[in-house]
């Protein structure tokens, strides 16, 4: 689905393709998630990495993009990088480069120690926010700063999803992009790539309970939800209208 002339939301994938940058934009991979959960007693089968790589591969083949911008939270643990995550991070960089994608990382709140890997991996890492081309990429746990002259703000962090009630009265949760404005500048919220952290159904939550401070200004009810799932990408209209189904 074409979001703007320059941005395509790849059909059925939680990935945006930005033509002018020839880049894929993704967010919230939370690599090493299962390893961290296992330490807390949840022995989730290891599928996150595999599923993410399948998705990226499909996107890379479709678009032939040259780089992949990870808009925060490439990994999961708050404090330190553990072996499990290190392996997956290493494999991630290796695999995307094999797909001829150069990784660009925006630091998220889960990425405190990722700097450590700048040198050994020769990685491009942005600390807070990054102006790339006409776009400002930021993770979303803090407000964006340099927004002047930006064509669009692109963030992650929120893990947006919507709840849809089917005719049988059952609620289905589907992750989604959110598209709207922040201080009159277009804003795009990317869905989470993580297999396990699909997020909350925003249309059933109060505005105050959202994670990112961005939504203190940007009214989520006026944002459009573009759902990704069941092999397709579909515009469901404004969140506010999805509140009463």
């Amino acid at each position: 689905m074409q979001l703007t002339k320059d941005i395509e939301l790849l059909e059925g994938l939680p990935v945006a393709y930005i033509r002018s940058l020839d880049a894929l934009a993704v967010a919230d991979l939370h690599l090493g998630y299962e390893g961290v959960m296992a330490k807390k007693g949840m022995l989730l089968p290891k599928v996150n990495f595999k599923k993410i790589m399948e998705t990226i591969k499909e996107a890379a083949e479709k678009t032939k993009a040259k780089s992949i911008i990870v808009d925060g939270d490439i990994k999961n643990e708050f404090s330190e990088v553990d072996q499990e995550e290190f392996n997956e991070l290493f494999d991630f960089v290796k695999s995307v480069r094999e797909m001829k994608l150069e990784p660009v990382l925006i630091k998220g709140n889960h990425d405190n120690f990722v700097e450590r890997y700048r040198e050994p991996f020769n990685l491009k890492i942005y600390a807070q926010e990054a102006r790339i081309g006409d776009y400002l990429f930021f993770h979303g746990e803090e407000l964006p700063c340099e927004i002047k002259g930006v064509k669009m703000l692109i963030m992650g962090h929120e893990h947006p999803a919507i709840g849809i009630i089917n005719a049988a009265g059952r609620k289905e949760k589907v992750s989604c992009f959110l598209s709207g404005t922040y201080k009159r500048i277009p804003l795009l919220v990317l869905p989470a790539m993580n297999f396990y952290a699909a997020g909350v159904d925003i249309n059933f939550q109060s505005r105050a309970s959202l994670l990112s401070p961005v939504f203190g200004t940007a009214n989520v009810d006026h944002m459009r939800a573009i759902a990704v799932g069941f092999g397709s990408t579909m515009d469901f209209g404004e969140i506010g209208k999805l509140r009463n189904q």
Partner: protein, 888 residues
């Protein structure tokens, strides 16, 4: 071989097996032997495995213990009694354990006292010691456990979970090697669920430790089939069940029962009047009886009844509620008061159904249907304290379906037709736990372990491939090598055919997480914008709510707004009726057997009524009198005259309006239009019990949704199920016929799997199974993981597991539990095949509005006092329209 014990032994034969001390104690305390004791003393003293069923007050517990106590005193008198466990008593209830302890402590003291008096100082010379008894449950303090390790009691009183822990406590196991007897009490509460499955494996492991056989004694109240229970108790030795004798004394107490309607006309009588009459009748029964035990079917109902009785009549502290939501202290207090005879009446949901001695109850009063014959007999059996007494029971019915159901139920009870129970078979999650437990104690040969497991009845049919798949799962073979250190719970060498212990934390994990009772969570309901808490709903109910839904809680209506975490935010609703049926998990499900009995009764009555209509050319209900043959047919059931009349007109209305009465031989399918909405309903009058209906409704729902290419709303009820459509669907006899033929063509298992895959039920049960199989640990390294956390993403874990293998053991078990334990897939399939073969006929009728037999179903079939008013008005309106058509 499993067989019935032939005949009772004479008192002299029975008492003759006892030594003089035990005998004189018994004769001093009891004037005679009760029916089960006339079998048990002798047979247990001969070391026979025994299953004893007998009602409350029949000296059941003593029938199991006397011969054992005798044996232990024999040992003591010969100076052979050691600091070892000789007998393990297991019951599912901690409260019952404490009761047993108190009840045995005294006799042991008394008997020893007589020995001491007679022997004097020789006691020390001959090494005669006290026979000791001790309780070990989750409540037992650490200090006492340590003491017990050093000086174990001769009789150990425990729960299934504590026994499992002892089997893995390397030191205590030494004390168990001497076990000669195991008593399982309340076997009917264990044999039909995973707790019992867990226990069955524990017993086989105990057998492995004791290196031989111990005598197994099972005690139960009312249960059927008995040979099934016996096999559960004794297990298998190779291909044959071990020997067991069955002593069935469950009918030694006489029943005096009746079903009553509080008013003559359950439809048109003013609802206030019905309520008034209901409470007047309750009051009358309480006042005319020494002590009354009232059963409601829900906890909220219990509170309401107590409240109303106190408000309306002059009751005070002499009436009390007893249910699972009350604190343990207040429950114990009520039990004590009952036992001492200080309560005039206790009102309970299910909690007083079994267990503790509660003293002399004269009458048991049941409000609404108890939904199963066995449960009714069990509850009514609480009345009449001694085995010679008659158990007096009354059921007050709340609507016409209830009336038919309760009357047939009591008829079946008098004929001793009980519901059957079923032991869950091949539960892989419970087995996973035990395999971890077993691996911790020794290195195992796979085949040896497999045959040990197969000797437990619930695993007798276990396939080897399921067993090894489970070992692979437990060994962590589904994750990469490097992660097995975390994921693996045991090691498994396929080439060497062995498995054993892995990791130093596994034992801690095992001990902290074993057990089969899932963590449940109550969702707090809060009035939006305030902090006012109005009650709890179940998590499963929450998952069905959508914004704007109106539901009932504590007798009031609320509109659901949204939920966050484990909180649901609502606003008080002024609408007149709920839009979503009350969650029925709190309601008891109608059993298959009882449903069949009702179907049989319907068949007989329906034939008589058709004859009557044809012969007398009856066109209108008004002015017809009940013919004699119908009067006497209904009169075979224990009902009063009011009820007979009510049943007669109920069936006549259905016959005149719909021309058909659904029965055991006829599945009536009614296509009709909703009464006060624009919806269309397809109603299956399938009287097969809730579990079968649950499965059948999903099967039909899936096929019909596909054929008609539309979404369908489903409502399941004890008397059938119905599908709702927003627009008029094209339902024809042909569509129905094709659905049946499609569904009866081979197994519906794959279809059912798909039908339940995306339900909340699956999410929740999968979480339970994952927790039981140690995939989600509830307790880990000092953390307790909350249910909310466990629930998070269980849908995604499910997806992840599916991507590994469709037959992943945890996945397979979740489906098995849903389709075989929650629902009844085998009987649903049986029904479908009967429909295809024409053994059950089906017929589609179209009605302008719902027929009388559908009324209760249309109004949510919620037979409870709650919201009776709203339902009642609605019912009246429906009924008026029917009567207008058939001319009442």
């Amino acid at each position: 071989m499993i067989e019935n014990a032939k005949q009772p032994f004479s008192d002299e034969e029975s008492l003759g097996v006892l030594n003089s001390y035990v005998r004189s104690w018994f004769e001093k305390n009891f004037s005679e032997l009760t029916p089960p004791q006339k079998y048990a003393f002798k047979l247990i003293s001969e070391g026979k495995n025994l299953l004893i069923t007998a009602p409350t007050g029949s000296g059941k517990t003593m029938s199991g213990f006397v011969a054992i106590i005798n044996k232990l005193f024999d040992y003591s008198l010969r100076g052979r009694l050691e600091n070892k466990v000789y007998c393990i008593y297991i019951s599912p209830l901690r409260a019952l354990n404490n009761d047993i302890y108190r009840n045995l402590q005294r006799p042991l003291e008394e008997i020893f006292e007589t020995v001491r008096k007679e022997k004097g100082v020789n006691i020390i010379k001959e090494g005669i010691r006290k026979v000791t008894i001790g309780v070990r449950t989750g409540d037992t303090p650490q200090s006492e456990r340590a003491k017990m390790l050093k000086t174990p009691p001769n009789i150990l009183v425990t729960t299934p979970e504590s026994l499992a822990i002892l089997l893995n406590s390397s030191k205590f196991v030494e004390n168990l090697k001497s076990v000669e007897y195991v008593i399982i009490d309340e076997i009917h509460e264990l044999a039909n669920n995973k707790r019992g499955v867990h226990l069955a494996l524990s017993l086989e492991r105990l057998g492995h430790i004791t290196d031989g056989r111990f005598t197994r004694i099972g005690l139960g109240a009312t249960l059927y089939p008995l040979d099934e229970a016996a096999k559960y108790l004794v297990g298998y030795d190779g291909a044959q069940p071990r020997d067991c004798l069955i002593v069935d004394a469950s009918w030694s107490k006489k029943l005096d029962v009746v079903a009553k309607s509080p008013v003559r006309d359950l439809i048109y009588e003013d609802d206030q009047k019905i309520e008034d009459e209901l409470y007047k009748e309750i009051d009358r029964i309480i006042k005319s009886s020494k002590a009354t035990l009232i059963f409601t079917n829900t906890r909220s109902g219990t509170e309401r009844v107590v409240f109303n009785l106190k408000k309306r009549f002059d009751y005070g502290e002499d009436i009390a509620a007893h249910h699972g939501s009350l604190s343990r202290e207040s429950r114990l207090e009520v039990e004590e008061l009952l036992k001492k005879g200080n309560l005039k009446c206790a009102v309970s949901s299910t909690s007083l159904e079994l267990g503790m001695d509660i003293g002399a109850i004269e009458t048991v009063l049941q409000l609404g249907s108890p939904k199963s014959v066995t449960r009714a007999v069990q509850r009514i059996g609480r009345a009449g304290h001694s085995f010679k007494a008659t158990a007096k029971g009354e059921i007050l019915v709340l609507n016409r379906d209830d009336l038919v159901e309760c009357s047939v139920l009591l008829g079946a009870a008098l004929k001793r037709h009980l519901d059957s129970f079923a032991v869950p078979q091949n539960a892989l999650d419970v087995l996973a736990q035990h395999l971890v437990g077993m691996s911790l104690t020794q290195k195992w040969d796979v085949d040896e372990a497999y045959s040990l497991v197969k000797s437990a009845y619930p695993y007798h049919q276990l396939q080897k491939q399921d067993f090894t798949a489970l070992l692979n799962y437990l060994a962590g073979n589904y994750v990469g090598l490097e992660s097995r250190r975390v994921y693996g719970k045991l090691w498994y060498e396929e080439a060497e055919n062995t498995f054993g212990k892995r990791g130093k934390f596994t034992k801690v994990i095992y001990m902290l997480n074993l057990g089969t009772i899932p963590d449940e969570v109550a969702v707090n309901v809060i009035v939006e914008g305030t902090k006012k808490w109005v009650g709890n709903i179940e998590e499963e109910f929450l998952t069905r709510l959508k914004q704007g839904d109106v539901f009932a809680l504590g007798g009031k209506l609320y509109q659901f707004n949204y939920s966050k975490g484990m909180k649901a935010y609502v606003i008080p609703s002024s609408s007149s009726a709920p839009t979503i049926p009350p969650w029925y998990s709190e309601q008891l499900p109608l059993s298959y057997e009882l449903a069949n009995e009702i179907g049989e009764f319907r068949l007989g009555l329906s034939n008589l009524i058709k004859d009557h209509i044809n012969k007398s050319k009856v066109k209108k209900l008004k002015g017809t009198k009940m013919p004699k043959e119908i009067d006497s047919y209904i009169g075979e059931l224990p009902v009063d005259q009011k009820s007979k009349e009510a049943m007669y007109s109920y069936f006549m209305e259905q016959a005149l309006f719909a021309k058909e009465i659904p029965s055991r031989e006829l599945l009536l399918v009614e296509f009709t239009k909703g009464f006060d909405d624009d919806k269309y309903h397809l109603i299956f009058h399938s009287l097969l019990g809730r579990r079968v209906n649950d499965a059948l409704s999903r099967a039909f729902g899936t096929v019909l949704a596909e054929t008609l290419d539309t979404d369908i709303g489903v409502l399941i009820n004890d008397n059938g199920f119905l599908f709702s459509f927003e627009e008029k669907p094209k339902i024809t006899e042909k569509v129905l016929g094709e659905a049946i033929s499609e569904l009866s063509h081979g197994s519906i298992y794959p279809l059912m799997k798909k039908a339940v895959r995306n339900t909340e039920l699956m999410r929740r049960r999968f979480r339970h199974v994952a927790a039981r199989s140690f995939m989600i640990l509830r307790n880990y390294k000092g953390w307790k993981i909350g249910v909310g956390r466990q629930q998070v993403n269980s849908q995604l874990i499910l997806k992840a597991v599916e991507s590994i293998d469709q037959n992943f053991p945890i996945l397979k078990e979740a489906y098995r539990e849903i389709l075989n334990d929650v629902m009844d897939l085998p009987r649903a399939e049986l029904t479908l095949s009967k429909l295809r073969k024409g053994e059950i006929k089906y017929k589609l009728i179209e009605t302008p509005f719902p027929s009388p037999f559908a009324h209760n179903m249309i109004t949510f079939g919620h037979a409870d006092v709650i919201l009776m008013k709203e339902r009642h008005k609605y019912l009246q309106q429906l009924h008026k329209r029917v009567m207008k058509k058939i001319g009442g």
